[in-house]
Symmetry: C2
Subunit: 179 residues, 2 copies
């Protein structure tokens, strides 16, 4: 567990999403992959919701209470309610602010190597360690970047003609819709 490596990636994600998405025309941002799938706008809302409710709250729960009570489950549809009426620019700003606050909190915990083995209880996955939480936080960012690239590519599915054969993202089956 190298906390500096973890924090470096976590720090970059909001700026990467901002650079990718801000000011793009709406069809890139507001189109999904079909019924019951998410738009890029929805994914940013989900990242905000999990930033508030999942990652640092779970790390702190492990340090305070260990595995004596399970983590609160994530509401995977919260963003459909919480993002309503907001702009993408507003969501990107909100995610950047929350992530920055999370990383300040993470550093303030002054974690020692023995802390990473401390155990918590995931409501669906069972016993996990603090190291698992921190690694899953980074891969959760990457899963949703992977998902956003797929959602956006889907909008050009028919437009690429014969190139569909060579463009791997168009063959992704949506495993990354999970979080």
């Amino acid at each position: 567990m190298d906390l500096d490596h973890t924090a470096a990636l976590l720090a970059n994600t909001p700026a990467a999403l901002n650079a990718l998405l801000r000011d793009l025309p709406d069809p890139w941002i507001c189109s999904n992959e079909g019924p019951a799938t998410w738009t890029a706008f929805d994914v940013v809302g989900h990242l905000i919701h999990t930033e508030r409710t999942a990652w640092m709250p779970r790390a702190k729960l492990i340090l305070e209470s260990g595995d004596s009570r399970p983590f609160d489950p994530v509401d995977r549809l919260a963003q459909m309610r919480e993002s309503r009426g907001k702009s993408l620019a507003g969501l990107l700003n909100e995610f950047a602010r929350l992530r920055s606050e999370s990383l300040t909190e993470l550093r303030a915990l002054n974690l020692q190597s023995e802390d990473f083995a401390r155990r918590g209880l995931h409501p669906a996955l069972g016993p996990v360690t603090l190291a698992h939480v921190l690694a899953a936080w980074t891969v959760h960012d990457l899963t949703h970047l992977h998902q956003i690239s797929r959602i956006m590519a889907h909008q050009c599915r028919d437009a690429v003609g014969p190139w569909i054969k060579f463009l791997g993202v168009l063959h992704c089956d949506g495993h990354s819709a999970q979080s």
Copy 2:
């Protein structure tokens, strides 16, 4: 074919990669997914090579010569030679500069709606139109963003513990290694 939409995404990709990758510790940048796979560093080199040799050169060939001669094939391993001795920061700068030049050239073509149906000849895929080339250019960016998120996530594969079940990017089978 909405050229403004296409150009907006193409314009954002270098900044998105820059924000995601610049200044990350080397393990994020220089690790691959196993033998004969690419690192994030390799992918940026590939984007530079295709920017130089594939997208605008093919668009211009269609406008100049139609399908009278096939496009030059892409050398998928060129970056292993061309990136040698360079830094990631240097590659990111080079990609941003080349992309900016490509978009200046694209705008200068002053394409009209009837141009998008003009035909060229791909050496492997056969007949394609200018519209296919432009759409494939954007999805090629997204395929490699998808690939980079997967390569980076792979570095945490064991570290996430039971979360592997929920993190879709870790179930991606590498379809996106193609370009």
